[in-house]
C-alpha cells in the first residue's frame, strides 16, 4: 500500500475527530489513466493523467454530510475537514445516520479477486498505439468501400483506493481496467450514415479479445445496420443480445433498491417472496467472481461482500439495502448496489434459438427511453435485425418496445448460452415472447 495514502487517510480521520466528528469514514483514491485514439491512421487524441482525491463521510451528533476534494495540500485538507465538520453540525439530526455496526465488517473473504493486472506497469505507449492501430486497420479492411470514418481507441486505468473508518474499518483495493474498441460510420442510403461500434472492457489485458477481432466486430456491427427501416407495429418474439441485457435489467433493479423502497418509489416493495418473472429468470449478485468488473471484498459502507441470489426462478428473494436505508426500514443490510449481476446461462446459442422462433427481432442496440421505478413502466427505442426461421430479413430502426416490468419478465422464454464477460452485468442473450414492437 502507498504509505502517503495511509498517512493522508489516517491524518484526516484524526483531524475530523479533533474537529468534533463522532464518526468518520475517509476514502483516498489514486487513479492513473491513459487514452489513445486513432482516426485516418494517425493519432487523433492522446490523453494521460493521474488523479488523486479524498472523500470524507462525517457523522456529528446524528448529523451527516459527504464531501470530496482534489485539493490535497496538507493545509487545504485540514481546512476542508474542519469546514466539513462545521457544516454537518448545521444540518438536521437524523437518528438513522451512523457508521455501520462493526460486526458487518467481519468475515471478509481471503481471496485474490484477480482484478489487478500485474502486467499493467509494463503496458507501454508502443503497446497502446499498436493495439489501436490494429483495431483501426481491421475495421477499415472489413468495412471496405462502405467506410466513411473509423475511430479506434484504447483506455487503461490503474486505480488504488484506501478506506478507513473511525470504528475500525480498513479496506484497500487495487484494480486495473482496459477498454478497447472501434466505431465505424458507413455510407447508407441517401443521407443516412449508420454508426456502429464494438467496445470491450476487462480488468486483465489478457481478458480482451484480439485487437483485430474487435476491429472486425465493429465493422460487422455497422454493416448490419445498412438499409434499416421500421416495420409495421406488431406483436413478436424478441431476443435481446447479451451485451444489451443490462439496459432493461437496470430498470427492474431500480425497484430493488432499499432507498427506492423506503422512499415509496419502488414497484417491487411488496413483492418479496412473490413471482415477478418466468422460471427462466434468475439473478445472482456475485461480488467474488475472479476477474469480475464489479468484484469487491466490501461495499461502500465497508460491509463484507457476499454472494446472494436476488431472484430465483422468477421469485424475488432479496433487495439491495445499504446500512442507512436498512436502518430506516428496520431491515438487515445486504449491499446498496449490485456488484456483478449474473444470469445463469442456458444451453442453446442465439442461432439455434432463432431457428425455432419463426419471425422475430434480434435487438442489437437501444436508444433513448426510460424506466419508471415507481410504476415499473418502461419504454425504449430499439434497433436490430428482423429474422424469420433463423435467417435475417432486414435491419430495423426507429422502433420501440414498451411494457411494465411486472409483465415483461414473465415473458422471458429462454436464455442463451452466451453470458457477456465484458461488463459487470454478465447477461446471456434473453428471449421474450409476445412483445409489442411499435413501428409504422
Amino acid at each position: 500500500m502507498n504509505r502517503d495514502m495511509h498517512d493522508l487517510a489516517a491524518g484526516s480521520l484524526k483531524h475530523a475527530k479533533s474537529a468534533g466528528a463522532d464518526g468518520c469514514r475517509v476514502s483516498v483514491y489514486i487513479d492513473r489513466r491513459v487514452e489513445v485514439s486513432y482516426r485516418e491512421r494517425k493519432p487523433e487524441n492522446i490523453k494521460e493523467a493521474k488523479r488523486n482525491y479524498l472523500t470524507i463521510d462525517v457523522f456529528v451528533d446524528g448529523r451527516y454530510s459527504n464531501q470530496t476534494t482534489s485539493d490535497l495540500r496538507p493545509a487545504a485538507v485540514k481546512d476542508f475537514i474542519s469546514n466539513a465538520v462545521a457544516t454537518t453540525k448545521m444540518l438536521a439530526e437524523d437518528p438513522f445516520r451512523s457508521l455501520p455496526d462493526s460486526k458487518y465488517y467481519r468475515g471478509r473473504a481471503e481471496t485474490d479477486l484477480g482484478i489487478f493486472d500485474p502486467s499493467h506497469k509494463a503496458f507501454s505507449p508502443e503497446d497502446r498505439h499498436g493495439i489501436v492501430k490494429t483495431m483501426e486497420a481491421a475495421c477499415l479492411e472489413k468495412g471496405g468501400d462502405k467506410v466513411i470514418s473509423v475511430t479506434a481507441s484504447c483506455r487503461d486505468t490503474a486505480l488504488e483506493a484506501l478506506i478507513l473508518s473511525s470504528n475500525g474499518f480498513e479496506g484497500y483495493q487495487t484494480q486495473t481496467y482496459y477498454t478497447a474498441g472501434a466505431s465505424m460510420t458507413a455510407q447508407g442510403e441517401g443521407d443516412r450514415r449508420p454508426n456502429g461500434y464494438n467496445f470491450m472492457t476487462s480488468v486483465q489485458k489478457s481478458g480482451l479479445p484480439s485487437p483485430s477481432a474487435i476491429g472486425v466486430g465493429a465493422a460487422e456491427r455497422t454493416l448490419e445496420l445498412l438499409g434499416s427501416s421500421k416495420i409495421k407495429t406488431e406483436t413478436l418474439p424478441i431476443i435481446i443480445e447479451n451485451r444489451n441485457g443490462s439496459r432493461l435489467l437496470n430498470g427492474l433493479i431500480a425497484g430493488m433498491y432499499g432507498s427506492n423502497i423506503q422512499q415509496k418509489r419502488s414497484f417491487l416493495a411488496d413483492k418479496k417472496g412473490k413471482k415477478i418473472g418466468s422460471d427462466h429468470f434468475t439473478i445472482i449478485d456475485d461480488p467474488l467472481i475472479k476477474g469480475g468488473l464489479g468484484s469487491q471484498l466490501f461495499d461502500n459502507d465497508g460491509i463484507t461482500a457476499r454472494t446472494r441470489t436476488m431472484i430465483d426462478k422468477g421469485v424475488l428473494k432479496e433487495f439491495w439495502v445499504d446500512w442507512y436505508y436498512g436502518r430506516k426500514l428496520g431491515w438487515e443490510p445486504t449491499s446498496g448496489r449490485p456488484a456483478n449481476v449474473v444470469l445463469p446461462p442456458g444451453k442453446r446459442s442465439v442461432e439455434e434459438i432463432m431457428k425455432d422462433l419463426g419471425r422475430g427481432i434480434l435487438i442489437t442496440g437501444f436508444i433513448g427511453g426510460n424506466s419508471n421505478s415507481t410504476t415499473g413502466d418502461t419504454s425504449v427505442g430499439i434497433l436490430g435485425q428482423l429474422f424469420d426461421e433463423g435467417k435475417t430479413v432486414q435491419a430495423v430502426s426507429e422502433m420501440n418496445i414498451a411494457d411494465n416490468h411486472l409483465e415483461f419478465w414473465r415473458k422471458l422464454a429462454e436464455v442463451g448460452n452466451d453470458p457477456w464477460p465484458y461488463s459487470s452485468f454478465r447477461t446471456p442473450s434473453l428471449v421474450f415472447t409476445d412483445v409489442v414492437v411499435s413501428g409504422t
Binding site: N45, T68, D191, G439
Partner: protein
C-alpha cells in the same frame, strides 16, 4: 470558531460558506469578485503567473503543433438535501486543476494535473506535446487579457450564502408540496449551487478568466391514490443570482412537482404507431437539442459522420423555421461569456428561414472549414478536452397560435414534458421518453398520457414540422445536462408549440 481568511475559505470550503462564522463577517468588497472576467484569481490564489503559463505553453509546443492552451479550473459544488421532512444531508465537491492541450491539425494531445506546482504543470504540458513530432514552436511573448460581457451577473457568490439561509428555502418547498395535495406521501427536495472559476491562456497570447455560477432548486414527489403510486419532479434554476430563489419560485417548484404527479393518476398510455405529434412550448426544446442540434455540431460534420454534413446552404425545413444557438441569453443554463478555449460567445443562426446556414464550431473545426470559431468550444472540466457543444438552442416563434396547431390534429398526442433523449448522429434517428402529455382527439386535448417513447429521425422531423406557433419559450430548468463523448455540460433549450405531422409513438398496444 476561528474567523477564516477569504483565501483559505474559498479554497477549502465546499458546503455553504455559512458553515463557518466567517461567512457572516466577510467584507462587502469581497463580493466584487462576482463580476465575471475580473482577472487575477488564479495568480492571487494559486500563484499561477504569466511566467509559469509561458513555460507551460513552451513545453506543450516543444515538439511543434499548431497551438496549445491551458485551462485552469477551481470549482466548488454543494448539494443541500431534504428527505422525510428534514434537511439531513449535504454533499460537496471541490475540483482544482489544469488541463493542457496541444493541437496539430485535427490531432489533440492532452494532459491534466490536480497539482498546480510548476513541476506538475510542466509534466502535463510535456504529455500534451507528444501528439506532435516536429520542431519546437514558441508561444506569444506576452498575454493580452480579453474583455467579456457578463451574462450571469451576481450580487453575491452563492458559496458565500450561509447554509442557514438555504435551509428554509428547501424546507419551504417540502412544506408547500404537502400542503398542495393530501395525496402526497413523500417529497425529496434539494438545492444545488456550483461556482466554477476558470482561466484560459493560449499560445496565441490570449488570456481570459471567468466565474460561472450554476444553481437550481428541485423537488421530487410521490403521491398515492387508491393503492397506486406515481412520482414526478420539477426544478427551476440556471446561472442565477441567489435572489432568484424567491417565495414565488419555491411555490412554482413545489406546485410543478405536485401537479405533474397527481395528474399521472388519470394518465393512460396511447396506442402504438405513427401519428401527428404536437410539441408543447419550452421543455420539449430538448428534442430540438438532441434530434437536430447535435447533428449540427461541427466535429461530426468535419468527419463526415453527421447526416447534416452535406446540407449547408440547403433547405432543411419549412421557410418559417429558424433555429439559433446562443450563449448570450442572460442567466440561462447554457450562457457563456467566453467558451472553454477562449472564444468570446456570440449568437449563431443554424437554420435561417429553413436553410442550414452554419454549424457550431470550436477552433479545430473552424480551422478545418476556414471559418471563425463560433464560441461553442466546451468541456466538462479541466480533465476533458474541447468539443463543439451547444449552449442555448432554440427555435424562433412562427405565425400560428398554439390553439390552431392543436386544432389541426384529428388524432395524435400533445407532448408537454420529455426526458432521456438520445440521437444517433449518422442516421439522425432519435428516441425520447414522454413523461407528461395529452391525447389529441378531434382537435382537442383529452386524456393525460405518460411513460412512453416517441421515435423519429431528426432531418425528417425538421422537414415534417408543418406548423410553428407564436409562443416561443425557453426551458427554465437549472438541472439540464447534455452528454457527448463521455462529457457532460449544462445546456439550455427552447421551442414554441410545433406540429410534427408524423412520428412513431411507442405505446403498449398494437
Amino acid at each position: 470558531m476561528r474567523v477564516r481568511t477569504r483565501r483559505s475559505f474559498l479554497k477549502t470550503t465546499a458546503v455553504a460558506a455559512g458553515a463557518t462564522a466567517a461567512a457572516h463577517v466577510l467584507p462587502v468588497g469581497w463580493y466584487r469578485l462576482a463580476y465575471a472576467g475580473e482577472a487575477g484569481y488564479f495568480e492571487s490564489e494559486f500563484g499561477i503567473t504569466d511566467a509559469l503559463c509561458q513555460r507551460a505553453l513552451t513545453a506543450a509546443l516543444a515538439k511543434g503543433g499548431d497551438f496549445a492552451d491551458l485551462y485552469f479550473e477551481h470549482t466548488i459544488s454543494n448539494w443541500t438535501m431534504l428527505e422525510d421532512g428534514k434537511v439531513n444531508r449535504a454533499y460537496a465537491d471541490v475540483e482544482l486543476g489544469v488541463g493542457i492541450r496541444t493541437v496539430k491539425g485535427q490531432q489533440v494531445g492532452y494532459g491534466f494535473t490536480q497539482d498546480l506546482s510548476k513541476e506538475a504543470v510542466l509534466a502535463a504540458a510535456s504529455t500534451a506535446a507528444t501528439i506532435a513530432d516536429g520542431e519546437a514552436r514558441k508561444p506569444a511573448g506576452e498575454f493580452v487579457t480579453l474583455k467579456t460581457d457578463n451574462y450571469y451577473p451576481l450580487k453575491r457568490l452563492l458559496t458565500s450564502v450561509p447554509l442557514d439561509v438555504k435551509l428554509p428555502i428547501v424546507q419551504a418547498v417540502n412544506q408547500k408540496a404537502f400542503e398542495l395535495s393530501p395525496l402526497v406521501v413523500k417529497a425529496s427536495v434539494g438545492f444545488h449551487d456550483q461556482q466554477k472559476r476558470m482561466m484560459v491562456v493560449t499560445s496565441a497570447g490570449a488570456k481570459v478568466e471567468d466565474l460561472l455560477p450554476r444553481n437550481y432548486l428541485w423537488a421530487s414527489v410521490v403521491a398515492e391514490k387508491d393503492g397506486r403510486r406515481e412520482r414526478a419532479g420539477w426544478n427551476l434554476g440556471g446561472r442565477k443570482d441567489f435572489s432568484f430563489y424567491t417565495p414565488e419560485v419555491v411555490n412554482r417548484v413545489a406546485s410543478g412537482a405536485v401537479d405533474r404527479t397527481v395528474k399521472l393518476f388519470d394518465a393512460v398510455q396511447p396506442p402504438a404507431g405513427e401519428m401527428p405529434v404536437v410539441l408543447g412550448p419550452g421543455l420539449t426544446g430538448i428534442l430540438l437539442h438532441e434530434a437536430i442540434g447535435h447533428g449540427m455540431e461541427a466535429d461530426f460534420n468535419r468527419k463526415n459522420i453527421s447526416t447534416y454534413c452535406t446540407m449547408i446552404g440547403k433547405q432543411v425545413a419549412e421557410p418559417f423555421v429558424t433555429i439559433i444557438d446562443d450563449p448570450t441569453n442572460t442567466g440561462m443554463l447554457g450562457a457563456l461569456n467566453v467558451d472553454d478555449e477562449g472564444t468570446i460567445g456570440r449568437k449563431t443562426v443554424l437554420v435561417e428561414n429553413g436553410i442550414l446556414t452554419s454549424y457550431m464550431h470550436d477552433k479545430i473545426s473552424a480551422t478545418h472549414y476556414k471559418l471563425e470559431p463560433t464560441g461553442n468550444g466546451r468541456r466538462q472540466s479541466y480533465q476533458h478536452y474541447i468539443q463543439p457543444r451547444m449552449c442555448n438552442t432554440y427555435m424562433l416563434g412562427g405565425q400560428s397560435t398554439p390553439e390552431e396547431v392543436i386544432k389541426s390534429v384529428k388524432k395524435g398526442i400533445y407532448v408537454k414534458d420529455v426526458s432521456n433523449g438520445q440521437v444517433k448522429i449518422g442516421e439522425g434517428d432519435f428516441a425520447f421518453y414522454v413523461s407528461q402529455g395529452r391525447m389529441i382527439e378531434d382537435g382537442k386535448l383529452t386524456a393525460p398520457i405518460k411513460d412512453m417513447n416517441i421515435m423519429g429521425n431528426g432531418p425528417k422531423m425538421l422537414r415534417n414540422t408543418t406548423m410553428v406557433a407564436n409562443d416561443p419559450k425557453m426551458s427554465e430548468s437549472g438541472a439540464g445536462w447534455c452528454g457527448k463523448g463521455g462529457q457532460r455540460v449544462p445546456v439550455g433549450f427552447g421551442l414554441p408549440t410545433c406540429l410534427v405531422k408524423s412520428m412513431t409513438v411507442g405505446g403498449v398496444k398494437a
